[in-house]
């Protein structure tokens, strides 16, 4: 059901683990729904110098966390903000339809960590694009 790329990122996740004294942290998901992602950022001169993640979830949740962190590493915060869930899914060689919400979760996690960094630094948080998809509404686990 998973592509080779997904299995590779699941079995050998990149950037897995907490970063000490991070500059921004974003936690998204819901244990009730079976997936939580936590993204840690170290930012230098407006660039993501290092990134880490912790994930509770299925194979796709781990693989999208791994791929999303790979894709934003070394990018400016503006560039990282533009990372879309579909780009994460494509970079993984596609995801089963029922797992697309994992890629949405990864995008949300990156956004939340960036805004956490901005708030800590006295900046206005960036706004999600109108119509941006959400992995979970308040109490349901819909994709």
């Amino acid at each position: 059901m998973y592509s080779e790329k997904v299995m590779d990122h699941f079995m050998n996740p990149r950037n897995q683990g907490e970063i000490e004294n991070p500059d921004g942290v974003g936690e998204v998901g819901n244990p009730k729904c079976g997936d939580i992602m936590k993204i840690f950022l170290r930012v230098r001169d407006g660039r993501i110098e290092d990134v880490g993640f912790q994930t509770f979830g299925c194979g796709a949740a781990v693989a999208t966390s791994s791929m999303a962190t790979e894709l934003v590493k070394g990018k400016t915060l503006e560039e990282a903000w533009e990372l879309s869930n579909t780009a994460v899914a494509e970079a993984l060689g596609g995801l089963p339809p029922v797992k697309m919400h994992c890629s949405v979760l990864a995008e949300e996690g990156i956004h939340k960590a960036i805004n956490d960094y901005r708030i800590r630094n006295g900046l206005e948080p960036w706004e999600e694009k109108p119509g941006a998809s959400h992995a979970h509404s308040d109490d349901t686990c819909e994709a």
């Binding site: 299995m7 683990g17 992602m37 994930t55 194979g59 919400h101 686990c141």
Partner: protein
């Protein structure tokens, strides 16, 4: 990592067809291919083979051969029992009772019947997954036409008090159906002693072929047909018989009955060693289902702070086949209805793992799982924010 090793621990999903069962079936694909409804010699061979298989099935559950009707499997048998009795007895009442942990073949059929105007009560179960016969008795009304309670649960392995439920239904004049798909071959089933009026079974769960099963219908039970057409199965179930499948089901059920006691004893020993070994090696594990009233081969665990599908993927990588009640393995986003019904919180239900042992399993298989699973759990926990949070809360204390 041993790529050549395959440890199959998903016998509740299906079992391999036993070689001697396959051998019994083979002639009915080739030289004995005749349609049992025809009158020439080779057709008679097919007819006799079906009669023999029907005897074998009847004997295994203490029924008469005329009470055994062949189906395409457990799902059809469940559909037929519920819809058939509900519609046949519609004038008498519109009330059906089942449990909240039935297989979807029963639950979704009940939901369909609700759309047709029937009222269905889904009985709660206790923390071990047991239906309370007293609750059943209190729920029966003069409108109740059918009660359907499974003999043993497919996910958590809990054995239900079928004889007690059957006795209550008999007293109250209500038809009693049991889905015994997981039970046959593992625990003794006797439709007379247990007061069962209808019983579903499926051959591929006891080392028979897939696509074949049976519905036992007690003599005198009014039931509408599900499939209409030819006069097969004494005009009850139309369609040319799956002769090789029927022969295989007969051979498999006879074989399973002969082996059942030794089989159960062996599986219980292996399973208990697996359970004890895992709880010694992994912290924060709970057993789901009843500690003793459970199917011999079933071990269902919740491993906290990690998610079931990721455990299965890593086990598969190591050549171990298991299953999970996690949402991610069900194609939906909700975890198993059975695990929620026994009161597990969602996040713990997501971390469930089911091993179901069978004939092929050995002590070496148990050792291999005991060596393989703990590092997988450790690795996934290292990745899990829930575990990190838990560790921090432990440190604070």
């Amino acid at each position: 990592m041993n790529r050549n090793r395959l440890v199959y621990l998903d016998h509740a999903a299906t079992t391999p067809t036993a070689p001697e069962v396959v051998e019994a079936m083979l002639p009915y694909y080739s030289e004995r291919f005749g349609n049992p409804s025809s009158i020439y010699g080779i057709a008679r061979d097919s007819r006799e083979a079906i009669d023999h298989a029907r005897d074998q099935v009847a004997r295994a559950i203490n029924a008469s051969p005329e009470e055994i009707f062949v189906t395409s499997g457990g799902t059809e048998a469940d559909n037929w029992a519920l819809k058939g009795v509900a519609f046949a007895d519609r004038k008498r009442g519109d009330h059906i009772i089942t449990s909240s942990i039935e297989h979807h073949a029963v639950l979704h059929t009940c939901q369909y019947l609700e759309k047709q105007g029937f009222r269905v009560i889904y009985l709660d179960v206790d923390e071990f997954g047991r239906v309370d016969p007293a609750a059943l008795e209190n729920t029966i009304t003069d409108q109740t036409v059918l009660v359907s309670i499974m003999a043993a649960n497919n996910e958590i392995g809990t054995i239900e008090p079928i004889a007690a439920c059957g006795a209550i239904c008999r007293d109250r004049g209500v038809r009693f159906h049991t889905d015994a798909v997981q039970a046959i071959g593992s625990i003794p089933i006797d439709v007379e002693a247990m007061n069962v009026d209808l019983l579903s079974l499926s051959a591929h769960k006891f080392y028979g072929p897939k696509g074949i099963g049976a519905l036992y219908i007690r003599k005198g039970v009014r039931i509408d047909n599900l499939l209409h057409g030819g006069a097969q199965e004494r005009r009850r179930r139309a369609g040319t018989e799956n002769v090789p499948g029927i022969v295989g089901m007969g051979a498999a059920i006879e074989r399973a009955s002969e082996r059942r006691e030794a089989y159960s004893r062996r599986l219980i020993a292996l399973r208990d060693r697996l359970y004890e070994g895992l709880t010694e090696r992994i912290e924060h594990v709970r057993l789901n289902g009843h500690p003793t009233e459970r199917l011999p081969g079933n071990l269902n665990l919740s491993i906290r702070f990690i998610e079931g599908e990721s455990i299965l993927l890593m086990l598969n990588h190591a050549g171990i086949c298991a299953s999970s009640g996690s949402a991610c393995t069900s194609g939906s986003l909700d975890p198993s209805h059975v695990l929620l019904a026994i009161g597990l919180p969602h996040e713990i239900a997501h971390g469930s793992l089911r091993f179901t042992l069978g004939e092929s399993n050995t002590d070496e298989d148990v050792d291999y799982v005991l060596a393989t699973l703990p590092p997988i759990v450790e690795r996934l926990r290292t990745m899990s924010p829930l575990y990190a949070e838990f560790r921090r809360s432990q440190d604070v204390q």
